[in-house]
Symmetry: C2
Subunit: 333 residues, 2 copies
């Protein structure tokens, strides 16, 4: 699929429609602040706590919007998704709420909490080896065999519009607090979240700069924005951010991102661990590594933000105890 | 002071007034749910996340309401408070917001995060030994020397009304979710929170049972309710709940509690650690031990709640990393 053949780029109206559709099901997550952290950092930092969303991440918004958009006949035949964990839980929970069968293709080495919760939401799990097998092909095979609908993790207008509702809430909450936003940062893997957030933010607050945030080793969106072409990550690259493993930006997300993003920011694994520690101590939030990468990128840039107001999306909190406590211990040095 | 000489018991109207007064300053904390936890527990569990309140605990609500109730002349002369940490931060932050000098009398062995944050909010700290010195006398001495106003941690109508605004939000949020509440549990030390919550809950939802929750070793409210007289804790009693160290229920809180509470519940330290682990894994919340005691008491009673809807106030999240990670490790067995 080429960028000039994109059938339907979602817009701000799709996000408003998704927000209305999702209202009975989603948590309006708080936009948190800490005057102690602000004084220490030298800028005002707001955290949109999507870790508190149903299923522990923003992914529920997109999955639920996609499922609510299916007609009854299609929905009845079930849904299929592939995911390292958060989209899995989002689709499984959405399917459970609507009484729809769900099959989720998950890496065999996904965090235990993500696999356990996906099962708890009633989904059937198919495991694969993420270094040797194609999750897309496995999922497409299941979809065609069963007549089920594939719910893509990010390259889908309904999913992007759903994820974007977090950005809509964020801007309205900042406005209610009387705080004009200089910048908004969102974690980026395939780009569904950051592109949806950018659509929402730019429609309501055009002067706010929106940035993607990625692990340093998985900076495909940053390089894609810099070159104007979708770039891929080195398949051998590793990161503690297990929820940000897409190999390149999605076609739709990148088409939106290149129009609306101010640039791509990055954070190393140690910076992400320190961000998890800041979220713990100053905001009382449990963040998974991938959920803390925008916070990490914002903290790394603190000299540039002096006196400004910056909001970050803390996109998820599904982290095993051992990973969390080790990150806090390493951050403490 | 005897119960029959109580000058002004706060009522539901005081809580409504406090809510209006506090609205520009407080966070409307979310009422969180987890369908995964509900399925495992056999009852619907809602968590009012006051750990996400400004200063990391509900205490800010009462402190700010008390400070806003002072006239300008009185306020200018400053405020004094004694606290093991959360009221300290609440008063310090409220004073800083209003440009008022604050002195806080804190135990020398208070958690490092609480002492550091109280300083960060601009307060002057006076340390004392909580096993040999009287914090009340030290605070009263400072108040009379400086002409400052003592802001009591719980035995004060303005403080109780302020804390009660968390209960008002809780009931309204549950109503908006279409969930009638069978029971509400709130942690109890001096009783300011649970009495304020009871006033709010009983005025809006009279059929909801409200319970105090205490560490097993510090069950003064439970025994006070059972005997109809204010009881004290053994001064030698210990608990991991460093924020629940009051030696007996306050006069005003107990006067309200004996009228409105259905009873007093308890939880042992290991149950509290397990509750912290549940809050971490299922709700992505960082809770301090004292903030998790109502959740612990609810989990301990799960057989009694089968099929019911129970809300707990998670009252604070100011916990040092070592205490938090050790609690999670011990809970995991």
């Amino acid at each position: 699929m080429e960028a000039d053949k994109i059938p339907s780029l979602p817009g701000a109206a799709d996000i408003a429609a998704a927000a209305a559709r999702l209202a009975p099901y989603t948590v309006t997550t708080p936009l948190l602040f800490s005057s102690v952290a602000d004084a220490r950092l030298g800028f005002r930092l707001l955290i949109k706590a999507e870790s508190l969303q149903r299923t522990g991440s923003f992914k529920f918004r997109g999955a639920m919007n996609a499922l609510l958009s299916l007609d009854d006949e299609t929905r009845k035949r079930g849904v299929v998704a592939y995911s390292s964990g958060n989209h899995a839980q989002g689709v499984a929970a959405a399917a459970q709420l609507l009484g729809v069968p769900a099959v989720i293709v998950m890496p065999a080495d996904a965090p235990a909490i993500k696999t356990a919760n996906t099962k708890a939401y009633g989904a059937e799990i198919v495991a694969y080896d993420r270094f040797t097998e194609s999750r897309e092909k496995i999922a497409e095979g299941i979809a065609s065999t069963r007549g089920a609908t594939l719910i893509p993790p990010f390259d889908d207008a309904r999913v992007i519009a759903g994820q974007g509702t977090s950005g809509l809430e964020l801007v309205r909450q900042a406005q209610a607090m009387g705080l004009p936003l200089d910048a908004v940062l969102a974690p980026c893997s395939g780009g569904g979240l950051v592109s949806g957030v950018a659509l929402a933010v730019k429609s309501l607050s055009p002067d706010t700069a929106v940035y993607s945030a990625e692990p340093t080793t998985l900076d495909d969106m940053r390089r894609s924005l810099a070159t104007g072409q979708r770039q891929a990550n080195d398949p051998a690259a590793r990161s503690i951010c297990d929820s940000l493993l897409a190999t390149s930006p999605g076609v739709l997300p990148f088409a939106i991102a290149r129009l609306l993003l101010a640039g791509g920011l990055i954070a190393g694994d140690d910076e992400t661990r320190r961000a998890m520690a800041v979220a713990f101590a100053d905001y009382k939030l449990v963040l998974e590594p991938g959920g803390a990468v925008a916070l990490a990128a914002a903290l790394a840039m603190k000299e540039s933000w002096r006196g400004k107001t910056v909001a970050v999306v803390a996109s998820g909190g599904n982290v095993d105890r051992e990973v969390f406590t080790e990150a806090l211990a390493r951050a403490a040095g």
